[in-house]
Amino acid sequence: MTSPASSSEVKYLIESSEGNTFDVSGAALRQSNTFNAMFLNIGADGPIPFTDYNEATLKKVFEYCEHSVNEENYSGPKHQDDLSKWDLNFFNEMDQKMFIDVINASNFLDIERLTSYCCERIARMLRGKNTQEMIKVITLPTAEELEAKQKVEEKKAAAAKKVAEKAAETAEKTETLEELPVQQLVQTTRNKLTRKYLSFSNE
């Protein structure tokens, strides 16, 4: 059940990437600047699709919004030391993957307070560590990994080139037999090559 938001009791239906829907209060949703810009004044018929994010992530994000409904208006980032027990539990409960998903969703929904806390939390994770420890936290690829990746890309490019050459040869043979006018033949071969190359690259 959705309707234009006028009071905090209004509930909105949110649709996740799995196609599941769940309720979120208007007051919680209004912390999202994206929602405010898109739906606040015009309302929404049916569930609001946030289908780039899974249900668990969206529920986590709106859990934070529901909790902070009664807090005073957001006025810039708060230091981590000032976070309440509830806030700390909220962050500690998440694993790294969920944490990244929550930041992404919070950034998309433009929930300033949550995004800023998440960013400060990441800064805290990095602060005070030496270079090697920081690299572990950031999970930067190592030199070996980069080299391996480069090799795979080179192999892919070489294979693509081979396929393109083969395709060109075949096209030449078949099209010549059909005795097409030269201009048309060139165009057809070119189109075929491009298609094959693109389909290969996409794979």
Partner: protein, 325 residues
């Protein structure tokens, strides 16, 4: 945690939580991370106008006003291999989190400080003015230094001092020298070619040498032992084009009492009336004096007080004279 997979706006906000010296440290992680920091935090970097290297016995402090500050300390042992400032991991330089300082092997000081400077220039940009201050120790010669202030340690060799300017011979702004030297600076030294040379002669009675060889624009000699006769000799030498040929502004502060009448009585000069406003909005007139250089007709406006002599060269036509040194 795949931080680099986050949207750039989020990464920018993460970086905004760090101080500049922390961002510098973060940049050691990888080249990509360094470029990301530079591109997302460039606006903060633009606030930096001057970076100063303060050399003192046993350490070097690098700072940019109140924006950032980091200290590198000399140690003889206990350096963890870390790979900081873009140098190889074997380089004996590391971060000590207990003291919040970088530590480096004393024996590799020159190589490491040059490496640090090179990284800092690359990271913060070369449009910043880099300057060197040193106290009782000779600084490492670094590239692209525009201003130096050196308080020489006891019995510094002029050659050693000269070597400090080897990588930045054309310092555009100021060289300030203080402390005793064991010998004379050679006449074609880069020190004499500084745009503005400021020398404290208290423990280094080399003022006549400096006056003779200075080739820059502005010179100030503090705590000199100039007497009336030496000032007369200098002014007459200037008139005849023998000294201070290319320079525009000179300030000599002496510890001996000077007598203006005695000096001007022995130097050929021209007097003129200067009119200037005062606090009561009335115009007062005072008498000024200038010398004319015989070789090219350049005018040198002169002010002599009990403890100082100021000479400002203002071409053939003259102009407003502001003795600010």
């Amino acid at each position: 945690m795949q931080i680099l997979s986050l949207p750039l706006v989020v990464i920018r906000e993460i970086f905004a939580n760090f101080k500049l010296e922390e961002l510098l440290f973060l940049s050691f992680c990888s080249k990509r991370f360094k470029y990301l920091i530079q591109s997302l935090q460039g606006r903060r970097f633009k606030q930096i106008k001057i970076i100063t290297y303060n050399f003192s016995v046993g350490n070097v402090c690098i700072s940019a006003e109140t924006l950032f500050s980091l200290t590198l300390c000399e140690v003889n042992y206990g350096i963890t291999q870390m790979g900081v400032f873009g140098m190889s991991i074997e380089t004996p330089c590391c971060w000590n989190p207990l003291h919040s300082t970088y530590e480096y092997d004393k024996k590799e000081k020159e190589y490491i400080i040059r490496g640090v400077h090179s990284y800092i220039q690359q990271f913060f940009g070369s449009s910043i003015l880099y300057q060197v201050n040193s106290k009782n120790v000779l600084p490492i010669s670094l590239e692209n230094i525009e201003s130096s202030s050196i308080k020489c340690p006891e019995n510094t060799n002029p050659e050693e001092l000269e070597a400090c300017f080897q990588n930045s011979p054309n310092q555009k702004t100021t060289i300030h020298l203080e402390g005793p030297l064991a010998g004379n600076i050679c006449s074609d030294s880069v020190i004499y070619k500084a745009d503005f040379l400021d020398v404290d002669c208290l423990r280094n009675r080399k003022e006549s040498e400096i006056l003779r060889h200075f080739k820059g624009k502005r010179l100030r000699c503090m705590n000199t032992s100039f007497s009336n006769s030496q000032v007369i000799e200098f002014l007459n030498a200037w008139k005849s084009g023998q000294m201070f040929k290319k320079s525009k502004l000179l300030g000599i502060h002496t510890n001996f009492d000077l007598n203006e009448d005695e000096i001007m009585g022995k130097v050929d000069h021209i007097k003129f009336n200067k009119r200037h406003g005062n606090k009561e909005n009335t115009v007062a007139t005072t008498t000024g004096q200038y010398l004319i250089r015989e070789s090219d007709g350049q005018k040198g406006y002169l002010t002599i007080s009990q403890m100082s002599v100021h000479l400002a060269v203002f071409g053939k036509t003259g102009g407003h004279v502001n003795f600010d040194i």
